[in-house]
Amino acid sequence: MYIGKVIGDVVSTVKHPSLDTKKLLIVQPMRPDGKLEGEPIIAIDMVDSGIGDVVLIVDQGTAARQVLTMDYPTIRTLILGVVDRIDLPDGGVR
């Protein structure tokens, strides 16, 4: 799992049936100190998060399989939680 910041959302009408009713958000990976780093990725939102939220991301099919209870998951990136705060030895974010 890693931390990211929600930077956008994706609207799609024509999509795979497994994605029906799923909310797609674009998440920018973030270091615990708040620095944005790495390539943005589209994730399925499980916790009603929105643009600007700092969130907990998982990018592994088996995890998605458990959360979504799909036998053959087509989804591997999920937003699992909204981060309230991160405590670091030298100061935190939010």
């Binding site: 930077i7 956008g8 959302d9 994706v10 609207v11 799609s12 009408t13 024509v14 999509k15 795979h16 497994s18 994605l19 797609l24 674009i26 390539e39 943005p40 990725i41 589209i42 994730a43 643009i51 099919g61 998605a64 053959y72 998951p73 087509t74 989804i75 591997r76 990136t77």
Partner: protein, 87 residues
């Protein structure tokens, strides 16, 4: 999942049985802002996308699960056509 633009089609008559009937497209990954990033790749398509469309795709084992025949070697699958990205 990632955003990409469809830049071409691939026709392969001889292929493994588990990919029979599948449509292959060449896609160029994009950043959410629409700039090209990384190398183009080939993905299976289940949403009838075509050249010029902006799409989103999944990489890895999950790509294979997008089609009826689950036991196949695809490692990228187009999952939807992007209508709009809000940043």
């Amino acid at each position: 999942m990632h955003i990409a633009k469809v830049i071409g089609t691939v026709v392969a008559t001889r292929k493994v049985d588990s990919l029979r009937g599948q449509k292959f497209l060449v896609i160029q990954p994009l950043t959410p802002e629409g700039e090209e990033t990384g190398r183009p790749l080939v993905a299976i398509d289940i949403v009838r996308a075509g050249p010029g469309d902006v799409v989103f795709f999944v990489r890895g084992r999950e790509a294979a699960h997008a089609i009826e025949e689950k036991f196949n070697p695809a490692d990228a699958a187009i999952m939807g056509i992007v209508d709009k990205v809000d940043l």
